[in-house]
């Protein structure tokens, strides 16, 4: 398993590569979680679950089990705050 959304640190971004299809609900894709789109981690709840991300402009929270299914490629953190 490569780097997934579950591995992101706060403020880190990544580009979605692919996911373990069959178990990922179509709703997630419809919200913009598609290969090629950017994901940023905004906040993690205590116990690392759920995870609050900004994916393609959609601000959503998902459970860790789902985040582990979304593989991505990290974008090196460019300081843009």
């Amino acid at each position: 398993m490569g780097t997934t959304v579950a591995h992101l640190k706060r403020g880190q971004k990544g580009i979605i590569k692919e996911f373990a299809d069959d178990f990922l609900p179509i709703k997630l894709l419809e919200l913009g979680c598609l290969p090629g789109n950017e994901v940023e981690l905004i906040q993690i709840a205590p116990f690392q679950d759920p995870i609050y991300i900004n994916v393609n402009g959609s601000h959503i929270a998902i459970r860790k089990s789902m985040a582990l299914l979304i593989e991505l490629e990290l974008i090196e953190d460019v300081n843009n705050r």
Partner: protein, 747 residues
């Protein structure tokens, strides 16, 4: 003669769709159910230009036509079925300007169904703040539609929207995306088999089952027999479809939608940092909860007192004005009291829903769900269970209905089953009176024992809910995928109009949902308590008169009458001293005598009423169950009160008042409390209401399922009698055992 057309409102959650619905329909709206399913149907009437009337249906918020819940399935069925009487002549797809890209997914799907659609872009007021600009004419061209740029907050653009709707016949019905691209071979075959149907429509029907539990399909049954693809293949194709659609959307928006990246990041980021913080997030939430409960407690006291006295006097008025008889009694004591019992809870319930609606409108509630999800999961609950659990402290009925947004069926079922454990407002009158009776004075850490006990009871209720959830989680074998997505919308100031509508809707559901049942049972119980077939009952007046003649009035009544008479005497003397009137000694004695006679008459009728109740149907029932409740420390009188509580828990207090022959027009709780304190068990010679029996009673009410209305709602929401029956049995048995242990241990 005005024409009537059908409009459907559809859109993502958090786009202000509800505001649009409210703007279009005003107060001409109602909420019902789709036939045969427990899905809420929200509809209204809208007046459009040129005399056209429109029937508007507000469909559940959804991100796409690929359904993930029963609500959405019902909506999609309506869109697919041209023969459905609610099938729209025009669809308004509501989107918000900041999330336009995502919103357009749904839009392209609607367009592909060949339904005339207008794109409504809401929240135009935020555009400058976020540096967003949209080329509307070009967008209209690329999407083949008409666009209304509106702001429900500032109430702009709505007239233009209505014009567009009135003009719906001129909307294009060309599709946006040609989905045959995702698997040309497959779609060729489909087209060949069903040459007269739209490809996208067929595709939707085929894939519906893939995503979701089966529902009654009234549509193209043949299509499902065409499944030559496996579930995973279909899913993969769906993903391709989504990607294809987004490709189209990205292309369209590239030329028409620009964001100035230098624009302010917005307060969402900073607020989120604070409100979802590992420590402060929870602290803040806890403080907000405390504030809410305190406010509700304080604010609802006044209206509740007012309502109480209003109904008490209404009842009295009926009894004195209308001719004596059965019907008058039914009206005064069955119906009016029953309705009063329902109305008195409206302030508390309305206030709680006001706060919850405010939290939801601002967007804060999503953050709460985010914070609570991980904590709730070990108990089989979801973060989304927090709203029903909190709502349960007002009333379990709207709370159970609020579970509809929990996607996971197991989590939803568990939430429905355990919510009634939370301390609802109906339990409060019972708690308060028992606590006043049996909990001693004294303080601990600055709080009185009585207040502490009340708090403990709330915690016990909540604890029981969580624990049973945990047990249910282990026992229930329901397979399901953990599927949890919560959108975290922008923070915004609540639109008071929407908040008001929501509060009204939820309160209405309590009034009519619980109201009918409470009223019906109140009347039945009134009947059972007012009639009896025994000789004792028939001859009550004579028997009591004899008793009074030989033994005099009951001790309690005697002392009460004495003090009341003394009070009257004093006020007479006062009046004389203040020269308000002049009377001589003979008149003074006459007044006193008259007063004494009146008091005796009242006491006599009270004792007769009490005796009659003892010997009525329900009195016999109470005596019959006495052996069952004795181990819990109750006598048959309390037994009667427990039985009548099945109408509504708070009826307990009123019933005890009647049994102990305390007048109903009295300064209620004080007199009743005194009377109850004086009640002594004839066998043990000890007070009936002591610490042991009091606590046993409190615990019994905390856990027993006595609310028929809740059971009715649970039945509706779970679509079977199995679950409410299980609830009734489990909770009652549990309550009995706990009360038993408590009493035996403490006595």
């Amino acid at each position: 003669m005005s024409k009537q057309i059908n409009i459907a409102l559809i859109g993502n959650p958090n786009t202000g769709k509800t505001s649009v619905f409210n703007e279009l329909t005003g107060l001409n709206q109602k909420v019902g159910n789709y036939p045969g399913v427990t899905v809420e149907k929200k509809e209204g009437i809208c007046k459009l230009p040129r005399g056209i009337k429109a029937h508007v249906i507000d469909l559940p918020g959804t991100y796409s036509l690929n359904t993930t819940s029963l609500d959405e399935s019902v909506a999609v069925e309506m869109l697919l079925n041209k023969k459905d009487k609610n099938h729209p002549d025009v669809a308004l797809v509501i989107s918000d300007v900041e999330n336009l890209k995502r919103n357009l997914l749904l839009f392209t799907q609607i367009k592909d169904l060949k339904i005339p659609a207008i794109l409504v872009i809401n929240m135009a007021d935020r555009m400058s703040r976020k540096g967003i600009s949209v080329d509307i004419p070009l967008l209209e061209e690329k999407l083949n539609t008409k666009i209304a740029l509106i702001s429900t907050r500032e109430e702009t653009g709505l007239d233009y929207l209505k014009e567009l709707i009135a003009d719906f016949k001129n909307l294009s019905v060309n599709q946006n995306v040609d989905i045959s691209g995702i698997d040309p071979e497959y779609f060729e075959k489909l087209k060949g088999t069903f040459p007269n149907e739209d490809l996208y429509k067929l595709w939707l029907v085929i894939t519906q089952d893939v995503n979701f539990m089966p529902i009654e399909k009234t549509l193209i049954k043949d299509a499902s027999s065409f499944e030559t693809k496996s579930t995973s293949e279909l899913k993969r194709l769906q993903q391709k479809e989504t990607i294809l659609r987004y490709q189209f959307i990205n292309g369209v928006l590239k030329e028409t939608y620009t964001v100035d990246a230098m624009a302010a990041k917005g307060i969402r980021a900073s607020l989120d940092k604070l409100l979802t913080h590992k420590v402060f997030g929870y602290l803040i939430f806890f403080l907000i909860l405390l504030l809410i409960f305190q406010a509700i407690y304080d604010w609802s006291a006044y209206p509740m007192d007012a309502i109480d006295s209003f109904f008490a006097s209404a009842s009295e008025w009926v009894k004195t004005t209308l001719p004596a008889g059965v019907f008058t009694d039914l009206l005064a004591e069955g119906i009016i009291t029953g309705i009063g019992g329902i109305v008195i809870f409206i302030p508390q319930i309305a206030f709680l829903f006001l706060f919850i609606a405010l939290l939801e409108e601002t967007g804060y509630m999503s953050r709460v769900v985010f914070l609570m999800d991980r904590l709730m999961r070990p108990f089989g609950l979801s973060g989304k269970s927090i709203v029903p659990l909190i709502s349960g402290t007002a009333c379990a009925i709207p709370a159970v209905m609020a579970t509809r947004n929990i996607e996971n069926w197991k989590e939803r079922l568990i939430t429905i089953l355990v919510t009634p454990f939370t301390t609802c407002s109906a339990r409060l009158p019972v708690y308060l009176i028992i606590i006043a009776l049996v909990i001693p004075e004294g303080r601990f850490l600055g709080l009185s024992y009585q207040a502490l006990t009340l708090m403990l009871l709330y915690l016990v209720g909540f604890g029981a809910a969580i624990l049973s959830a945990m047990i249910l989680n282990k026992i229930l074998q329901i397979k399901n995928r953990s599927f949890f997505v919560v959108e975290m919308p922008n923070y915004k100031l609540p639109l008071l109009k929407n908040v008001a509508y929501t509060v009204w809707e939820k309160t209405k559901s309590f009034i009519f949902g619980a109201g009918k049942i409470i009223l019906a049972i109140s009347v039945i119980l009134w009947f059972l308590g007012s009639f009896g077939i025994s000789d004792n009952f028939k001859n009550a007046e004579t028997i009591i008169q004899n008793r009074i003649d030989t033994d005099g009035f009951s001790e309690f009544n005697q002392s009460t009458m004495e003090s009341q008479l003394a009070e009257y005497k004093n006020s007479l003397n006062d009046g004389i001293v203040k020269k308000e009137y002049q009377i001589n000694e003979m008149h003074f004695a006459d007044s006193l005598l008259a007063k004494k006679t009146t008091l005796k008459k009242i006491a006599r009728s009270q004792e007769i009423a009490s005796f009659k109740l003892e010997n009525s149907f329900i009195g016999y029932a109470g005596k019959a169950i006495e052996p069952v409740v004795k181990p819990l420390g109750y006598d048959w009188k309390i037994g009667i009160a427990i039985l009548t509580s099945f109408a509504a828990r708070e009826v307990f207090v009123g019933t005890l008042a009647t049994i102990y022959s305390v007048g109903s027009g009295e300064e209620n709780t004080d007199t009743i409390t005194q009377r109850m304190a004086a009640e002594v068990n004839p066998q043990t010679k000890k007070p009936v209401f002591n610490l042991a029996s009091g606590i046993s009673l409190l615990l019994f009410y905390a856990f027993a399922m006595q609310c028929m209305s809740t059971l009715a709602v649970v039945k509706r929401e779970t679509n079977t009698w199995k679950w409410p029956a299980a609830q009734l049995v489990f909770m009652s048995v549990f309550a009995y055992i706990v009360a038993l242990i408590a009493y035996q241990f403490l006595k």
